[in-house]
C-alpha cells in the first residue's frame, strides 16, 4: 500500500517537472528498486533460510553427509527429486508432543523472557525518562553511555558478571565488608543471575526506543495538566505513559524475542537445572545429532514468537483505523 504511494509520489513529481517520458520511467524504476531491496533482503535472509530449516524438520536423521535423509537433491533427476519429496513427514512434530520436556522448555523460556522483559522495562524507563528530560547539551553524552557497553564483546561482559556474582565475588565481598550480610549470598547459578544477566545485556535495546518516543513528547501537555490541577502521578499515567507506548512496545519486543531463545546467559550464569529452549535445541542438534528434530524445535519457536506478534500488529492497525 505504502509502496504504491511512494511510487506514485515519485512519478507525479516527475510529471510536474515536465521531464521526458524516459526520465519518468527511470524514476519509477529507481523507486521500485528502493522498495524491492528490503523485500529481497527478507527473501534471502529470512524466507529462504526458513524454508531450508522447515524442509530439514520434515526429514529423518541419518549417519551421512548431510546427517539427514532425504537430502532433496537432483542427483536422480526431476523424478528422483519428487520421489524424495514423498519421504518427507511430520513425524518430528509428533515426537515433540510425546515428551513433556519440549513443552516445559518452551514454557520456562517464555516465563523467563517475560519476567526479564518486565524487569528491563522497570529499570529502563526511568533511565530513558531521565535522558529525555536532561538538558539537550548532555543528551548525546548520555546516549553514548548507553551504547558504550556494545564496544566490548557480549561474551566478556557476561563473563564479568561471574566475577561479580560468585560467592567470593565483588558483590559479596562488598556486602560482607559493609556488614549488610554475614553469609555470602548465593546468586551465581540461580534464576536471579539469569535475570540480572538478561536485564543488563538487553537494557540498551529497551532504553533507546523508549528514549526516542519520550524525547519527541511535547512537555507543554504536562504543564497544561498541572495547570488544570492534575497531580504528577496521574499526569504521568494519563499523558506520558500513553504517549510513550510505541516505545514501550518496541523495547519490550526487542528484549522479549531474543530473550526467549537466549543460550549464552543461562549457560554461563544460570544453574544446570535451568531448562530453556535454547539448551534443548543445542542438545538435539549437537548431542543427539538430530538435525531434523532440532529444526522442528526451531520452527515451533519461530511460530510461537511471530504469530502472536503478527496478530498483535493486526489488532493495532485495526484500532488505528477505528480511531480515524
Amino acid at each position: 500500500m505504502s509502496n504504491a504511494a511512494v511510487t506514485t509520489a515519485t512519478s507525479s513529481r516527475a510529471t510536474d517537472a515536465g521531464k521526458s517520458a524516459l526520465a519518468r520511467l527511470g524514476a519509477a524504476f529507481v523507486g521500485r528498486l528502493v522498495i524491492i531491496i528490503p523485500y529481497l533482503w527478507l527473501l534471502f535472509f529470512f524466507l529462504i533460510p526458513f524454508v531450508i530449516v522447515f524442509k530439514i524438520s520434515l526429514s529423518q536423521t541419518a549417519i551421512a553427509m548431510p546427517p539427514y535423509t532425504p537430502a532433496l537433491d537432483f542427483r536422480d533427476g526431476i523424478s528422483g527429486f519428487f520421489a524424495q519429496l514423498r519421504q518427507l513427514s511430520v513425524d518430528n512434530y509428533t515426537w515433540l508432543t510425546q515428551d513433556a520436556l519440549y513443552f516445559n522448555a518452551y514454557v520456562t523460556s517464555l516465563i523467563i523472557a517475560a519476567i526479564s522483559t518486565v524487569l528491563t522495562l522497570l529499570v529502563g524507563y526511568p533511565i530513558a525518562y531521565g535522558m529525555a528530560r536532561a538538558p539537550a547539551t548532555i543528551r548525546p553524552t548520555l546516549l553514548m553511555l548507553v551504547i558504550l557497553p556494545f564496544w566490548t564483546s557480549f561474551l566478556i561482559r557476561v563473563y564479568a558478571w561471574i566475577g561479580i556474582l560468585k560467592p567470593e565475588g565483588l558483590l559479596n565481598q562488598m556486602l560482607l565488608a559493609t556488614g549488610i550480610i554475614s553469609q555470602p549470598l548465593i546468586i551465581l547459578n540461580t534464576y536471579t543471575a539469569i535475570f540480572i544477566g538478561i536485564v543488563y545485556s538487553y537494557l540498551p535495546f529497551m532504553v533507546l526506543p523508549l528514549y526516542s518516543s519520550l524525547e519527541k513528547m511535547d512537555y507543554s501537555l504536562i504543564e497544561a495538566a498541572k495547570d488544570l490541577g492534575c497531580p504528577p502521578t496521574s499526569a504521568f499515567w494519563k499523558i506520558t505513559f500513553p504517549l510513550s507506548l510505541p516505545g514501550v512496545i518496541a523495547g519490550c519486543l526487542l528484549v522479549f524475542i531474543p530473550a526467549v531463545g537466549e543460550f549464552v546467559i543461562p549457560d554461563l550464569l544460570g544453574g544446570s537445572q535451568t531448562l530453556m529452549i535454547g539448551k534443548t535445541l543445542w542438545n538435539e542438534f549437537f548431542a543427539n545429532r538430530d538435525w531434523p528434530v532440532s529444526s522442528a524445535v526451531a520452527v515451533i519457536l519461530l511460530l510461537l514468537l511471530t504469530v502472536p506478534i503478527m496478530l498483535f500488529q493486526q489488532a493495532q492497525a485495526r484500532a488505528q483505523e477505528q480511531d480515524k
Binding site: A64, L101, S272, A287
Partner: protein, 365 residues
C-alpha cells in the same frame, strides 16, 4: 562513487579473485585443531622445512567441528576430532583413507595406543593419534583436605558416594556436561560394563547419579578450568588436560591454589584426539606431509612438552621432559593403563536415551 570508479573496483575485485586462484598453486595446508593445543614454533619449523604454508585455525568443541564436517566443503585438510566422534564421522563418509606409503614415520607410533584407537578407526586406516588423556578427578588439594581430612583421592568413591560428596557440596563440585563421559564412569563404579547400552544398566547409572545430584553445583564442560584455577570450587570431574591447564593457571596466579588430578583406581576413560584428512580436502599431498612431520619423535615430543598431554608416539618418549613422562596423571603406569577403558559411540537410538537420561539428571525434568 562514479560509475567509472565502480567499474574499476569491480574489475580489481575480479582480478584479486583470479590471483588468489593462482596463489593456490603455492603449497598450503589448512589445519583445524583444538585451541591452545600446539607449540606454534612447530608450525613455523614445518613451513621452513617444507615450504608449505600452514593456515592454522582452532575450535573448542567436537560438536562445532562435527557440524562443519557434516555440512561438507569445510575446506580443511587436517582436522583433529576425538575418537568417538571420529568413529561416527568415518561411518558418515567424512574422511579419506590415509596413504600409508607417504607416511614413513608411522613406525614410531605406540602399539598400546594403536590397539585402542583401532576400536574407533578399525585398522587405523583413517587417522593418526595426536594426543590422548583420561577423564578423572581434578581437585583443590587444600580445600579437599579441609573437608575430608585427607588430600588423597584415588577412587571414584569420593564422587559417587553421596556421603563423601555431601561434605564437598559447600565448597563446590562441577561435572562435565557430557553424558558420554560421566555415564560410563558411573557404570564402571557400579561394576558394570562402561560400554553398556542396555536400558536397565543406564537406569542404574541414572539412579547413582540422581543420588549425588543435590551435591553438584554445575554441569559444564569448560567453566571448571577457571573455577578450579580461581579456587571457586574444590572438585571437578573433567578431562585431564583441562585440569592441568587449571593447575598451571593457578601456579601462575600464585594465590596459593594447588590443583591435583587423579586417575581413579577403578579405571577411567581414555580419550584420543585423532588427526584425519576430510574426503573433500583440497590439499591432500600437503596434508599427508604435515601428518608425517607431526609423527617425527622430536616434533610431537615438543608438542607434548608444551601442552602437557601424553601422545601416541612411542619413539617420542625419549625427548619428553622427565617431569611429564614420570607424572602418573599424564603417563599412568602400566598397571593403571591396563584399567583404562574406551567408550564407543552410541547408535542414534541409544544416544537419544542417553541424552534424555542426562537431561533428567541435570535439570530434574
Amino acid at each position: 562513487m562514479t560509475r567509472k570508479a565502480l567499474w574499476l573496483s569491480a574489475t580489481s575485485a575480479f582480478l584479486a579473485l583470479f590471483t588468489l586462484g593462482a596463489h593456490a598453486e603455492d603449497r598450503v595446508v589448512n589445519v583445524f585443531n583444538w585451541s591452545d593445543y600446539i607449540d606454534s614454533s612447530i608450525i613455523d619449523d614445518f613451513t621452513k622445512e617444507t615450504g608449505i604454508k600452514v593456515v592454522y585455525d582452532t575450535f573448542d568443541s567436537n560438536e562445532i567441528l562435527e557440524t562443519k564436517l557434516l555440512a561438507g566443503g569445510s575446506g580443511y585438510d587436517v582436522v583433529v576430532p576425538s575418537g568417538n566422534f571420529l568413529a561416527r564421522q568415518i561411518q558418515a563418509g567424512v574422511f579419506q583413507k590415509l596413504d600409508k606409503s607417504k607416511l614413513p614415520n608411522i613406525s614410531n607410533m605406540w602399539d598400546t595406543v594403536l590397539e585402542r584407537t583401532a576400536k574407533y578407526d578399525p585398522g587405523n586406516e583413517y587417522s593418526i593419534n595426536y594426543m590422548w588423556g583420561t577423564v578423572g578427578i581434578g581437585y583443590n588439594i587444600k580445600k579437599v583436605e579441609a573437608a575430608l581430612g585427607t588430600e588423597k583421592i584415588d577412587s571414584w568413591d569420593v564422587f559417587f558416594n553421596p556421603e563423601t560428596l555431601a561434605k564437598l557440596k559447600d565448597c563446590g563440585v562441577y561435572v562435565l556436561d557430557s553424558p558420554a563421559d560421566i555415564i560410563p564412569a558411573a557404570l564402571k563404579y557400579l561394576g558394570l560394563d562402561p560400554n553398556s547400552t542396555s536400558p536397565d544398566d543406564i537406569a542404574k547409572a541414572e539412579e547413582a547419579l540422581l543420588k549425588i545430584r543435590p551435591y553438584i553445583r554445575k554441569f559444564h564442560s569448560s567453566e571448571y578450568i577457571n573455577a578450579l584455577a580461581n579456587g571457586d570450587i574444590c572438585l571437578a570431574v573433567g578431562w585431564s588436560g583441562d585440569v592441568f591447564q587449571a593447575r598451571n593457571r593457578a601456579d601462575e596466579a600464585k594465590q596459593g591454589v594447588e590443583i591435583g588430578y587423579s586417575v581413579p583406581k577403578e579405571g577411567a576413560q581414555m580419550w584420543f584426539d585423532q588427526m584425519a584428512i576430510p574426503a573433500d580436502a583440497p590439499h591432500v599431498a600437503e596434508a599427508l606431509e604435515f601428518l608425517d612431520y607431526m609423527m617425527k619423535p622430536e616434533v610431537i615430543a615438543k608438542s607434548s612438552n608444551y601442552v602437557l598431554y601424553a601422545n601416541g608416539n612411542k619413539a617420542s618418549q625419549q625427548f619428553i621432559d622427565k617431569a611429564i613422562l614420570d607424572d602418573p596423571s599424564i603417563y599412568p603406569d602400566a598397571a593403571t593403563v591396563q584399567k583404562l577403558y574406551t567408550v564407543l559411540p552410541y547408535n542414534p537410538k541409544t544416544q537419544r536415551i542417553i541424552t534424555r537420561t542426562w537431561t533428567k539428571i541435570v535439570t530434574g525434568q
